[in-house]
Amino acid sequence: MSERIKEYPGTYVKERAFSDGSVLQTWWYPKADYAWDEGVAIGRFLAGLKAGKILGITCPDCGRVLVPPRMVCEHCFAPTSNWVELPGTGYIKTFSIVIVRWDMERLEKPLIPAVIALDGTEALNATGGLMHLLGEIEPKPEAVRIGMRVEPVWLPARKRTGAITDIQYFRPIKEG
């Protein structure tokens, strides 16, 4: 490779070349809007959120309580049944302290996304759980720890719409 071929193709263009017109361009804005059918499992889960409940569903074969709920257990390939209301509490499986937006602009305030393992869903090598944001981490975001116990902070009932954001965030459970 390096020995045989001296010249490699690929022409680098500076960003400035677009603004000063030295390189031509054309733009497109696809209109990609969707209305995805929620179906049985997610539909019921969202209805639960609206009612202020986190619901799981049970696999009759392995006994796992699945969150997010699905109509089939991916390990047993068995259809699930028996909805369970979970306490909503859990612990932080992992987290990040995010200070830039997707386009690399700095955020005004850090976000702390985390994977929450929910109580009542522990199984062999897996836990039911959700990605969500953390809040009320005191005294500052850096105090967050893996394993920290957390609980959901719900929107008031009248503001809930049946969405994951009906939970505003999870916060540490105060000791005692």
Binding site: Y8, P9, T11, P68, V98, I99, W102, A114, A126, A163
Partner: protein, 388 residues
């Protein structure tokens, strides 16, 4: 084994650049043309095309493989694209392999392209919609979030520090100095990595591979054609791929089980029973520094949690006992998703033929493994190649 043997007989690639003048199909043509020229074959002699590319959102074209088909040499030829997110770059030569191993074809052009710069204002925008549309996107996640969380889980499980991980960047960028297509080949101080701008703890700017435009192509041939075309065929000995659950929040993120599953499948096919003894070079997928370590463990080339120590001991240096990412990896060469994965396979081809120039690992390596990974930290793709 009654399966037909398949060899890599040619390779080509473009420079990986932040933003290319070439259109996506022109990049594909450049890499494909070079691959053909490298083994003296013409497009006429190619019987089919196996292509791979990651989200359509990057190049900005729905049914991307149709859009790329002229540059992929697919005019009046059978052409199928495979797609497993970030794992695509190593899946595509596997996809090419079964085209020939099936007995349907004798030659195959394997091509991966990504023009990420078409996605504006920042290519990360293409990753905003990889999350579950109902339960995750409303929270506004991006790719950094989940990698940061996986990195954190890995560091926490084994008590690793940022310094343990950052040595991978120093090594890979250094290796990339000798890669003529590299975007970031340079000597870099570990303190500079540790001091780089924080993005999403524990991820800092220099932990991440650079976004780029580029294309890579290989020519595959059945045994009888391979011997006619070259006296240095590199054989595809094993292929493996595996996809974990999409419910990533339910998984153990500290260990890439899907990579292990894919590796076991590839090793079985290649007859490898002791990978650490039987593999001379590794090109694990390194879009972030911790990923190289994570994947060395998944490939069973390091004990769980021990890859950082192996790196500290210099074992994974270009002149170490197990050179890892001698190409410079994604961290050094660049990360045009699918093309970056195929770049690793091309690197094995060049290394095993002794044609890697300043990057050549010493000791006449006989066998190498390349691996890619992607989706929601969920797919593993593994290829084993050798000259035995």
């Amino acid at each position: 084994m009654r399966t037909r043997r398949v060899a890599v007989v040619g390779a080509g690639m473009t420079k990986f650049v932040r933003r290319s003048l070439e259109t996506a199909d022109e990049l594909s043509w450049q890499a494909a043309k070079m691959a053909l020229d490298s083994c003296g074959l013409t497009l006429d002699e190619i019987e089919c095309v196996a292509s791979g590319s990651a989200p359509d959102a990057f190049d900005g074209a729905h049914m991307k493989n149709e859009y790329l088909s002229p540059g992929s040499g697919a005019w009046n030829k059978p052409h199928i694209r495979c797609y497993v997110g970030g794992g695509t770059g190593v899946m595509t030569p596997i996809h090419g392999w079964y085209h020939i191993a099936s007995g349907l074809f004798d030659t195959c052009l394997v091509i991966c392209e990504e023009k990420m710069s078409s996605c504006q204002p920042h290519p990360q925008g293409a990753f905003l919609t990889i999350f579950d549309h109902t339960l995750e996107r409303p929270l506004g996640p991006n790719l950094l979030w989940i990698f940061a969380m996986e990195m954190n889980a890995y560091m926490h499980r084994y008590g690793l520090t940022k310094r343990d991980l950052a040595q991978v960047i120093v090594k890979n960028r250094g290796n990339a100095k000798h890669h003529p297509c590299a975007l970031l080949g340079e000597d870099i101080d570990i303190e500079e990595v540790l001091a780089s701008e924080a993005m999403a703890w524990p991820v800092q700017r220099l932990d991440v591979s650079p976004i780029s435009d580029g294309a890579v192509a290989l020519v595959l041939a059945a045994e009888h054609v391979a011997h006619r075309v070259t006296d240095k065929p590199v054989w595809i000995e094993g292929c493996g791929w595996s996809l974990e659950t999409s419910y990533w929040t339910n998984r153990d993120l500290a260990y890439p089980l899907q990579v292990e599953q894919a590796a076991r499948m590839a090793y079985d096919m290649a007859g490898i029973t002791e990978p650490r003894k039987q593999i001379n070079i590794a090109e694990p997928y390194d879009p972030f520094d911790y990923k190289e370590l994570h994947h060395l463990e998944g490939l069973m080339l390091a004990d769980k949690g021990k890859a950082p120590e192996m790196t500290a001991l210099g074992i994974t240096r270009r002149d170490g006992d197990l050179p890892v990412c001698p190409s410079g990896g994604l961290l050094g060469v660049g990360n045009p998703i699918a093309a970056a994965g195929l770049m690793k396979v091309a690197e094995l081809f060049w290394q095993l033929r002794g044609e890697a120039g300043g990057r050549q690992v010493p000791g006449n390596p006989k066998r190498g493994v390349a691996q890619a990974w992607g989706d929601l930290m969920q797919v593993g793709t593994v290829i084993v190649m050798g000259i035995a």
